[in-house]
């Protein structure tokens, strides 16, 4: 697709979509949303990028190496937070009891490990959808 209008619009839109996705992801504990929706939005923005600029360019931006690290990293962050719970409070995935700062309910920095978990989920969801889309549309060279 070599349409200049599509390219320009996409170039302007994509950062905003990603920004909104990150906003949704980080505000999971104070407003509707959370890791799933935010991660899906970031993922879709990359899908848009792929559709407009082609898969080769998109793969440069989000290479397989990065996606591999993001996939394992999302879960490893989750497990690490869970293990902190075991060490500090004697139970897997403990939040406030394990010493995570509670903060003021309603503010951005509150909820202990909840925003961290949301980031982990968001990374996982986003990278999953990008990788899956790339894998699905990738034609084999005959």
């Amino acid at each position: 697709m070599n349409d200049i209008i599509v390219k320009t619009v996409a170039r302007i839109l994509i950062p905003f979509i990603q920004l909104y996705g990150i906003f949704i992801m980080l505000h999971g504990h104070v407003s509707p949303g959370g890791g799933f929706a935010g991660g899906a939005m970031i993922g879709t923005s990359f899908v848009l990028y792929t559709l407009v600029f082609g898969i080769d360019k998109s793969k440069k931006k989000f290479s397989e190496r990065v996606s591999e690290y993001a996939e394992s990293g999302g879960i490893l962050l989750y497990i690490a937070l869970g293990l902190i719970g075991i060490i500090m409070a004697g139970s897997f995935l403990t939040n406030i009891d394990a010493g995570f700062p509670k903060g003021t309910p309603g503010s951005m920095f509150s909820g202990g490990m909840i925003p961290l978990l949301m980031i982990g989920i968001g990374i996982k969801v986003a990278s999953t959808f990008i990788t899956l889309f790339h894998t699905l549309i990738e034609e084999e060279e005959a």
């Binding site: 509707p32 959370g34 989750y78 909840i114």
Partner: protein, 102 residues
């Protein structure tokens, strides 16, 4: 052929009829008196901000009270990537041709 289609349609319609009949007996309009709105719900709504620090109760349950479910769900995503890669990723041309021959 036509007969078979009509039969399956009747079968599914009667399944729906059975389910609809059953579901009509269940508690209808949900209020705070509904059986599902019990002490668990009340506890979440009253104590979630003080116990977890998050005012969005859905987020609090998702990532704190029932965080183990969410761990399971991220593993589903991880598994789906591995599964899709295991059938779609081209490892190299030779193995593909071998495996598609037969």
């Amino acid at each position: 052929m036509m007969m078979k289609r009509v039969l399956t349609l009747v079968l599914f319609l009667s399944l729906f009829g059975l389910l609809a009949h059953n579901v009509m007996e269940m508690p209808g309009k949900f209020t705070v008196d509904a059986p599902a709105y019990n002490d668990t719900t009340q506890h979440y709504l009253d104590n979630a901000p003080s116990e977890t620090g998050a005012i969005n109760v859905v987020g609090a349950i998702l990532a704190d009270y029932r965080a183990f479910d969410t761990l399971g769900e991220t593993i589903v995503l991880f598994t789906s990537i591995v599964a899709v890669a295991s059938i779609l990723k081209v490892t190299d041309k030779k193995t593909r041709e071998e495996s598609h021959d037969e």
